[in-house]
Each structure stands twice: as structure tokens, then as C-alpha cells.
């Protein structure tokens, strides 16, 4: 122990011990990353599958949506991943993400549409809106998000695709208008995107 105490005060002991710790911790992180990487990917895939199942009724697909994807650039040039639902090989629905800016940050909505462009379901999968006010867009907190089911670009007509305060058909929440307005905008934007690329998505190859 006394030799250790002597060494410990030497100048060269400081960088060397620090380097050793840095090497050991980096090695631990690298091993940890190797050990968990595949399982994390699998877990995230399961999460995605669960959200896909929520916006797309079982009857619409008999294929593995995660393996049947298509990338199409949207109006801003950003690529979007589209998961295609097939029944006996024919594409009869699609699921994709659509984003718009809410009160505090981006709200990411996953929507499912059938081949005619009718909404099958929508779920907010990521948002940082105010808890207690804006978070009623989550299915866990309120049923509001289900109002979109069965709607399409023509029903209600385009000018009615808004919250009631703006003359539309969708409810806003007491104390929070910006959040539901953003979700309506995101869903409408998603439907417009689908309408613009409908043939490409339905082509099925």
C-alpha cells in the first residue's frame, strides 16, 4: 500500500490512471452497445408494429408491413417511409408518419389510410405538448384522436378540416387550441400527401 501511495503522487500517475479509466469505460460501453444493439432494434421494431396495428385494422393486411416499405419525398423534399398493407398481394392501404408544429414542438402523427384515401386511424406517437392541456391528443388520455376515423379529404370538405373555433368540424380542448389545430393540420397534410402520391403507393411493386 505504501508503494501505491508513493506512486499515486507522481505526475505521470495522473494521466496514466485517467487514460486507463477512459479505456476501461469506453470498452465497457462498446461491449454494452454490441450486446444490446440488436435487441434494442428488435424492441423498437415491435413498438412500431404495435403502433401500426393501432392505425390499421387487422382485416386490411395479411403481409408484414415492416418489410413492405416505400420511400417517397414529400413536398419539402424530405423522404417519408410508407408501410403498405396488402391483402392477397393487392395494396389496399398505407401507413405513414406526418408531422406538424404544435405549441411546444413537433407533433408526430402516424396515420393509416385505405386505398381510396379514407382515414382508418391516427395516433400521436411523439409530442412535447403541455401535460394536462395539450396531451389530450394521446389515446391514453382522451378519445379525441379517434374523431379522424372514417374522414377523408372530401368528407368533411376541405374548408371544414379545422377545429370548431376556426369554423371546422373538429373539437378543440378547453385552454388548448394550438395543439388540436396542429394535429388536424398534420392529418390533413398526410391525406394530401397520400392523394398526391396515390398511384405510386398503390402500384404495389
Amino acid at each position: 500500500m505504501s508503494t501505491l501511495a508513493l506512486w499515486r503522487d507522481k505526475l505521470s500517475y495522473q494521466p496514466l490512471s485517467l487514460a486507463l479509466i477512459a479505456m476501461l469505460t469506453s470498452a465497457a460501453l462498446a461491449i454494452g452497445n454490441l450486446a444490446t444493439h440488436d435487441d434494442i432494434l428488435k424492441a423498437e421494431e415491435r413498438d412500431l408494429q404495435a403502433s401500426l396495428a393501432q392505425v390499421l385494422p387487422d382485416a386490411y393486411a395479411d403481409n408484414d408491413l415492416l418489410k413492405d416499405t416505400l420511400k417517397i419525398a414529400d413536398a419539402e423534399g424530405k423522404p417519408r417511409t410508407i408501410y403498405r398493407a396488402r391483402k392477397a398481394g393487392v395494396v389496399n392501404g398505407a401507413v405513414f408518419q406526418t408531422v406538424s408544429r404544435g405549441y411546444a414542438g413537433d407533433i408526430v402523427v402516424l396515420i393509416g389510410v385505405d386505398a381510396t384515401g379514407r382515414m382508418l386511424g391516427a395516433r400521436v406517437i411523439k409530442h412535447i405538448e403541455t401535460p394536462g392541456l395539450g396531451d389530450k391528443i394521446e389515446i391514453a388520455k382522451a378519445k379525441w384522436i379517434r374523431d379522424f376515423e372514417g374522414k377523408s379529404l372530401g368528407d368533411p370538405p376541405p374548408e371544414k378540416w379545422a377545429v370548431k373555433k376556426d369554423g371546422g368540424v373538429f373539437d378543440q380542448f378547453a385552454g388548448a387550441t394550438i395543439t388540436p389545430r396542429a394535429v388536424v393540420k398534420a392529418v390533413k397534410g398526410g391525406l394530401e400527401f397520400f392523394a398526391a402520391h396515390r398511384e405510386e403507393i398503390l402500384k404495389g411493386d
Binding site: 490512471s17 485517467l18 479509466i21 469505460t25 444490446t36 444493439h37 413498438d47
Partner: protein
């Protein structure tokens, strides 16, 4: 022979991380919007505190005083990252509830504080007990603050506890005030400071009364803290 009983008492009450040392206030304010969140953050921090105290106490003779801080920080950050990755990979459902808290543990200077103030100069068993005691004290403080904010803010106690602890703990979820409109302010950050201040005042009043009745001097309150 270390006095484990007084270590436990210090961690839970006399030197409570939040109420006395005023450390780790960043995660305290951020997650105490409900009793369940406070409990989850407290338990996750306890696990990290026990592990970091153990490792740091066992290498205390090899770490020179000059480079101890970077050594502790890299060890703690590595450990938290490993916990984060393993939970994400193997306990993914739990991770979805706790994931938010794990990254915040690195920002909790109570972990570094205990490494520096206790584990660096004590044998391993005492350091383990200290980590456990400080962690449980932190858990207690966060859960109480969370419960007060949740009760006034939403009228419930331990809402969604079964998501964190498993379905067997669904009995903990109590709706105290049904059809309660809620007080939004209690869930927003300002109420975190408000409730902490009130609880701190209550603790000090209690200590003073106790000290007065025992006619001893009131306990000194440590004022130092990082955030």
C-alpha cells in the same frame, strides 16, 4: 466498524439529499408531477447510487485526489449509459416508463456528491449502505413531493403505478377526488418549487419543535448545492 444505523438515519432524514443537502433538484423538479414518477425516478437513482458507491469505494486506493473528479464522472456516466441500454434492450416496457428518468440521473449531482463525500473514503460495505440510504431518502422526498402535486393537481394518488411496478400494484392507484377539474399549475414547473419550499418549511418547523422540546440546539442546515 461502521455505524450502519446512523448512516441509514442520515440518508433517510438528517442528511436527506433533497430536504437537507438540497442536491439533485434538477431531476426533482422535472419528474415530480405524480407520485408514480417520483417513485420511479427515486428507485432508478437508488440503483445507480448503490452501484456507483460500490465501485468507487472499491477503487478508492487507486484513484489519486488530483484526478478523482473526472474518474468518478466517467464511471458514473458509463454506468448510467449501460443501465439505459440494457433496460432498453431487455426490459423495453419498463424502459418506456423509466427511460425519461435514466438520462436525467447523470445530471443528478447527488450521485457524484456521495462518491466524493462518502464512498471515496469509506470501506465498501459502508458505501453500499450509504448509497442505499441516500437513494431511499431521495425516493422518499420525490414520492412525497410527487404525491402532493398529484393530489392537488389531478385529484389522484399513484396514477399509473401498475405501468411502473406491474399489474399487481394496481391497488395503489387511488382516485381521491372523482370528477375533479384539476389545477394545472401544480403539474407545471413552478409548483415544484412551491411544494418543495412548503415541505422544507414543514420539516424545519418540526425539527425546531423537536429540538426545543429536547432543549438542544436546532440542527444545522447545509446550504451548499449545485442545482
Amino acid at each position: 466498524m461502521a455505524d450502519y444505523r446512523s448512516i441509514m438515519k442520515d440518508g433517510l432524514w438528517n442528511q436527506n439529499v433533497v430536504f437537507t443537502q438540497m442536491l439533485g433538484l434538477c431531476p426533482t423538479m422535472a419528474v415530480t408531477t405524480s407520485g408514480t414518477n417520483g417513485l420511479g425516478m427515486g428507485l432508478a437513482t437508488t440503483a445507480v447510487l448503490v452501484a456507483s458507491n460500490t465501485i468507487i469505494a472499491s477503487i478508492r486506493d487507486f484513484v489519486s485526489p488530483q484526478v478523482r473528479i473526472p474518474v468518478y464522472i466517467s464511471l458514473i456516466a458509463t454506468m448510467v449509459t449501460l443501465v439505459d441500454m440494457s433496460l432498453n434492450a431487455w426490459f423495453h416496457d419498463l424502459y418506456k416508463v423509466l427511460g425519461l428518468f435514466i438520462a436525467l440521473i447523470v445530471a443528478n449531482c447527488a450521485v457524484l456528491g456521495r462518491a466524493e463525500a462518502f464512498a471515496a473514503r469509506q470501506p465498501v460495505p459502508a458505501a453500499v449502505v450509504d448509497g442505499l440510504a441516500m437513494g431511499l431518502g431521495f425516493t422518499l422526498a420525490l414520492t412525497v413531493i410527487g404525491l402532493v402535486r398529484e393530489l392537488v393537481g389531478a385529484g389522484t394518488l399513484f396514477a399509473q403505478a401498475s405501468l411502473l411496478l406491474g399489474p399487481k400494484f394496481a391497488f395503489m392507484e387511488i382516485t381521491v377526488l372523482p370528477n375533479y377539474g384539476g389545477v394545472l399549475m401544480m403539474i407545471l414547473p413552478p409548483a415544484g418549487f412551491l411544494v418543495l419550499g412548503l415541505l422544507l418549511a414543514a420539516k424545519n418547523v418540526y425539527e425546531r419543535r423537536k429540538a426545543a422540546s429536547a432543549s438542544a440546539s436546532p440542527p444545522a442546515i447545509a446550504a451548499a448545492g449545485c442545482h
